[in-house]
């Protein structure tokens, strides 16, 4: 075979033509190279040595005999599944390669603990990811930061206290999926992407709640041991299924009610809007938790029992903690009342009663969707942490 390079040098991209020509001949066959680049013979000699081809210079007739290294490199290579279908168990040596890529044999093995499809997968993941990507919002422009704040000082203090509480909950909600994102085999790309965007959602929530709190005050409010103890049981849960059950289905599910409550009864439009924007994101987080746990329970019905036990265990662990702190409860009450008028306080109280029953109803509904009988669902819901998340 003859390859004519003209004046193109190996230091100018001619190696590509050479590779293509060599790919067209059998191992051991010769490509005759013609070209007028001044350094062609020198470079060809060096290039062939590095690539494992034989170089012959017969009085200016430059020849390359194809070596076996390139074809050897891809012997035993493995396809990392198919582009549009996930396998039951992803191979650790597929590593970071995308689905359907050809992976060279001898690639390193990665330790992704979550590599069994039924433990992480939900058919809805791709759709939810697309939805999430389309629904990303800019905290700088999505919130009417310049809207007036006209309520009394003490109501503003209550807003700051509620924001303080939300920030630590959102932080737990960021850390937990962030950790699992790194444990999921990248074969389950859509789930990995969805968790990553969930983390970005929580980052925004932390930002807007913090910014709202600091609009009129130089610092955040109180953070209680009881609230952090409750969140720590979530952060410490190492099992993906149990964690997303406690965090996404029960915790974020309960939070949904809280955020819509804040949206409705916030004393100012800024607080109302940060709650609304966060609630829209949370709905997706809950949806994915429900979707992949439904899939997981179908594949392994015994999971349901373990989920129930996790609720009991968490309840026992928190039995001696204070639950929702008084400061947060009182702040919610004042915020829902909007003033110190006895009639307003009574109405605020009733709204909180309604909020708690909405939360309970939401939890029972989601538990039933996972297949719990209504009696079991009611009992598990009642054991959920008093800290909401």
């Amino acid at each position: 075979m003859l390859l004519i390079l003209g004046d193109l040098g190996l230091n100018e991209g001619a190696h590509l033509l050479l590779k293509r020509a060599l790919a067209g001949v059998a191992v051991g066959d010769v490509v005759l190279v013609e070209g007028s680049a001044p350094e062609l013979a020198v470079h060809l000699r060096g290039w062939c040595r590095a690539q494992g081809h034989e170089f012959v210079d017969e009085g200016g007739r430059l020849q390359v005999r194809r070596g076996s290294a390139q074809s050897g490199r891809w012997r035993g290579a493995e396809r990392a599944g198919e582009a549009t279908k996930v396998v039951e168990q992803a191979n650790p040596t597929w590593g970071l390669a995308g689905r359907s890529a050809t992976v060279e044999a001898g690639a390193p093995s990665f330790d992704f603990p979550l590599r069994v499809r039924d433990e992480v997968w939900a058919e809805e993941a791709a759709r939810l990811y697309a939805q999430a990507a389309a629904a990303q919002w800019d905290p700088a422009t999505a919130i009417p930061w310049d809207a007036p704040i006209e309520h009394p000082d003490e109501v503003e203090d209550a807003v700051v206290q509620v924001m303080t509480y939300l920030v630590e909950n959102e932080t737990a909600a960021l850390i937990i999926p962030a950790r699992f994102t790194a444990q999921i085999h990248p074969h389950f790309r859509e789930v990995m992407q969805l968790l990553a965007i969930q983390v970005a959602d929580e980052a925004r929530h932390i930002e807007v709640f913090t910014r709202r709190a600091l609009l009129r005050r130089p610092r955040l409010g109180l953070s209680t041991a009881g609230a952090q103890t409750s969140l720590k049981t979530l952060v410490d849960e190492p099992d993906f299924a149990l964690s997303s059950f406690l965090l996404s289905v029960l915790g974020e599910g309960t939070f949904l009610s809280l955020l819509w409550f804040l949206h409705e009864f916030a004393p100012d439009p800024i607080t109302s809007e940060v709650a609304r924007m966060a609630a829209q994101d949370e709905a997706r987080h809950v949806a994915f938790g429900l979707a992949h746990l439904t899939h997981h329970i179908q594949a392994d019905p015994t999971l349901k029992e373990r989920l129930a036990m996790a609720v009991h265990r968490r309840h026992d662990a928190l039995a001696h903690s204070a639950g929702l702190n008084e400061e947060v409860f009182d702040a919610l009450l004042l915020l829902a009342a909007g003033s110190w008028q006895p009639d307003d306080l009574r109405r605020g109280w009733q709204r909180i009663q309604k909020l708690e029953s909405d939360m309970d109803e939401g939890r029972r509904k989601r538990l039933q969707r996972l297949g719990f009988a209504s009696g079991d669902a009611a009992q598990l819901s009642s054991l959920h942490t008093r800290n909401f998340m």
């Binding site: 040098g9 190996l10 230091n11 100018e12 001044p38 350094e39 013979a41 020198v42 470079h43 000699r45 060096g46 290039w47 040595r49 590095a50 494992g52 170089f55 070596g67 076996s68 290294a69 050897g72 490199r73 012997r75 035993g76 060279e104 044999a105 001898g106």
Partner: protein, 284 residues
Amino acid sequence: MSNTIIMGAVAYDPKVVTIWDGFKAWFKERGLNFDYILYENYERQVESHFKGHYDVAWNSPLAWLQVKAIAEKLGRKAEAIAMRDTDCDLTSVIVVRADSEIQSVEDLRGTSIGVGAGDSPQATLIPLVHLAEAGLSPEEDLRVRRFDVLVGKHGDHIGGERDAAQALMQNEVDAACMIDGNHLLFGREGTLPSGATRIIAQTGTYDHCNFTILDDAPKPAVAQFRELLLSMSYDDPAVRPLLDLEGLKVWKEGRTDHYALLERAVARFKTIDGFVEDVASRCS
């Protein structure tokens, strides 16, 4: 009982530990106990070989000539048992800036040339003997500027060649020496932008490193070591990363008839005479 072989090698880069540990594990799985001693420089390694501290040396071409010369003095025999495919038939080139007035070796008279470490065969000794044989004595007919990265490593480290190439582009020298393939490499990494230099001379071909044994090496262990080396296949995913790290596709049988150019260089420049005398007298 399985064979044991100890290799001496120079630690020219931290990666050599990864390389030889990898080989060790691979040999072990195939029933050969392989161990290695790392030396800071080739001279210490060569002397230790004659003192019997290990069985086989991974030698630079200059170290090979040192071993061969000392062995001759002591009435012993040295043998090259294997080498990398990439160590066969190298050439070095002498490069000037594209806009330089220098067109030929003769034009180098009165100019300055950048070379690698003083003990680098490819970047110093062989290019300089090429010039000397063309009638230009280093230092007398042209100034030689050494870029002494890691002396004692016999130019195993590419740094000296790169430094000389950079000095060429910064007009600090009029010419620079390097291996043929490195001219291409320096072009790719931007040290020598393509079109910025011109090659005015290319040396004859020469061979590079080899595995060297002396006549008292344990025969069965050496035979097994050599067989295993030659059996390493680039097709084997367990071996391929090791070969990639060590920079070869396949191990070849050793050959010693391609060191003539370097032999002429060391004879002309008396590069190793003193060292050979010293070691021969200490080890006789």
